[in-house]
Amino acid sequence: MRDFIFKRIAAIIIPFICIYGFYVILHGASAAGGSFAGGIILGLAAIVFSTIYGLKKGKKKFPEKVLFCIESYGTLFYGIIGMIGIINGAPFLANKLAGIDLGIPGTLTSGGLIGLLGLGVGIRVANTLLILFFTMEGADS
């Protein structure tokens, strides 16, 4: 897929796909959507990049080491966010009980810790999708 037209169009579209993915992730707390859906969109953007520009370039852009680190520490991030509740004397994964100011309902920060959790989960989902793609794609060679 080393077509000039493909590459140009991808170069224009991929930033918008990424912005859309982050939009869906961040608004998961206050509207429809969320980290799974947004993460899939982000992952698909990366997959589109590596199909059109070639697997080699894709693997250079997203090195395996970084992917595996995100795989491990993304999960730990979830645990650390959950621990904020315990440190503040509330149960695991507490949000308002842990003393987080939730602000006005309907705005971006009204989810409290859910926004942060969603960001972590979304990046983790995108990362997992990419790892699956690289593993399956590299398997037949």
Partner: protein
């Protein structure tokens, strides 16, 4: 600080192993560090579980309730450490520690490179965390998710061996287990549609009031749950995946699969049947008769299949099918003694079967042959391994002073109390058949001429692991004490729910 840890212990015992599992791959090159982290996690885990169990025991049965995120029961997810949960938590941690110790420095031959060994430990911890979660959670959908985590880690453990037969067994297991979890999810869907709750306690209260409106839906939900967990825990007619999967996995994996994994699904099934549907509904739909019948068939058929096997690991795997029959038989007896017997037998079988598989794996690795007839004279060359194997066999048959006897005794008392003479006869016949297929191994190992080959007992960590498990079998047989009390209290609590 300490009070923060103790009040949050119910969630820590679930998430700490899971998170440790996820960080392990980042330092997979330093094998010693990985093994040290895994073993210290398992030890701390055992201590935490023991603390929770002792608190539950001292509170005389008042469960510890933990609300995730501070949301109370019908809205939030609730963790409930009752006697049953505490009991199974002890089982999981008691088996996981020796198995992790056995795997120390011993896996590269069977599994391969360092990274693959680390992945093995990751799956081991994930499986353990999911099992503890299944025991503690009080939410139906959580059960499904944790069951899936456990299933995927089990399949990963089976396929950790690099030979193609292991992949084939893992694929078979994966397809059948996913079939089972689809049925479980369907059952949960029916319960949600009938009652509108996912919390087990609230679902039960609603179910008791509305079941007459839709008896067919309840019957469907019950059968879906039975089929789902039956496939996963290898109840007789749907056990086909078990012998392949358990005999092709690496040794520590087959110990943990045969000893623990199938038990977790039985605990889930127990929770579904007794705390969601309740014993009245079970009797209404004759579920208890089905369970007793299925258990009896599994005992006889599993033992007969085991008699015909020539490979050591396959014979042990079919023996697991037979012992699963005992557990299901006890579930259907509907009295305190029968349920106590089931729970205690679950613990004792977990200890015995893991020690048997570990010892068998050691012998197979030393001799390099899989057949039982190739074990001639091993007993004199490898005294500790074969000694542990012998203790395991005696416990499985149910000789007094070994743990299997206590469990079988209670099952026998329970079946006599419920007036089911046939079940009592089947329990005894099952013991006789068990002796018939396991005692020849002892005869071959001790009384036949030894080969010229140089055989030796394994290294120190493996010896410690084997001796820990064997000691557990003997201690539970002589002084069942507080474990038996925890089991009987769990049985009484389950039977109090109408």
């Amino acid at each position: 600080m300490i009070s923060a840890i103790t009040t949050n212990l119910p969630i820590f015992v679930i998430i700490i192993p899971l998170f440790i599992a996820f960080i392990l791959p980042t330092f997979s090159r330093r094998m010693k560090l990985v093994e040290g982290v895994v073993i210290s996690t398992e030890t701390l885990w055992l201590l935490g579980a023991g603390y929770l169990a002792s608190v539950v025991l001292l509170q005389n049965g008042t469960p510890i309730i933990y609300n995730m995120g501070g949301w109370a029961a019908p809205w939030g997810i609730e963790l409930k450490v009752d006697s049953l949960g505490a009991f199974f938590m002890i089982v999981v941690t008691c088996i996981n520690l020796p198995v992790a110790l056995f795997a120390k420095g011993n896996l590269t031959k069977e599994v391969g490179a360092k990274e693959r060994v680390t992945r093995f430990y990751v799956l081991l911890l994930l499986l353990g965390g999911a099992m503890v979660g299944m025991a503690l959670t009080n939410d139906l959908f959580n059960v499904f998710v944790l069951v899936e985590v456990a299933t995927l880690s089990c399949c990963g453990l089976v396929s950790a061996n690099s030979n193609p037969r292991a992949s084939e067994a893992a694929f078979k297991y994966l397809i059948l287990a996913t079939l089972g979890s689809t049925f479980v999810l369907g059952g949960i869907g029916f319960i949600l549609n009938i009652t509108g709750y996912l919390n087990m306690g609230f679902a039960h209260q609603e179910m008791v009031q509305v079941w007459q409106n839709s008896p067919h839906a309840i019957w469907l939900a019950m059968s879906f749950v039975l089929i789902g967990f039956g496939v996963k825990s290898a109840l007789f007619p749907v056990h086909v995946w078990l012998p392949d999967a358990h005999s092709n996995a690496p040794t520590p994996a087959s110990a943990i699969l045969s000893g623990l994994a199938v038990k977790g699904y039985i605990i889930c099934f127990l929770k579904f049947m007794y705390t969601v549907f309740g014993q009245n509904l079970m009797q209404q739909f004759n579920m208890h008769k089905i369970l007793v019948l299925a258990g009896m068939i599994a005992i006889i058929a599993g033992s007969l299949f085991a008699l015909t096997q020539n490979e050591l690991k396959r014979r042990l795997a079919y023996s697991t099918v037979a012992q699963i029959g005992y557990l299901f038989l006890g579930l259907g007896l509907m009295n305190t003694k029968g349920l106590t017997g089931t729970l205690f037998y679950l613990f004792s079988h977990a200890l015995i079967k893991s020690s048997l598989f570990l010892a068998a794996g050691t012998m197979i690795a030393a001799t390099g042959k899989k057949k039982i007839s190739d074990l001639a004279g091993v007993g004199r060359k490898m005294p500790i391994t074969m000694g542990v194997f012998t203790i395991g066999i005696l416990g499985l048959i149910g000789i007094p002073l070994f743990s299997g006897f206590v469990g079988k005794w209670y099952l026998l008392l329970g079946s006599l109390e419920s007036g089911n003479i046939l079940a009592a006869i089947v329990i005894i016949v099952g013991s006789v058949l068990c002796a018939a297929y396991l005692l020849p191994i002892i005869r071959i190992a001790y009384f036949e001429p030894a080969p010229e080959k140089d055989l030796r007992d394994p290294a120190l960590p493996q010896k410690i692991a084997l001796i820990m498990l064997a000691a557990g079998v003997i201690i539970l047989g002589i002084l069942p004490g507080s474990i038996l009390e925890l089991a009987s209290r769990a049985a009484a609590e389950l039977l109090m729910i109408q």
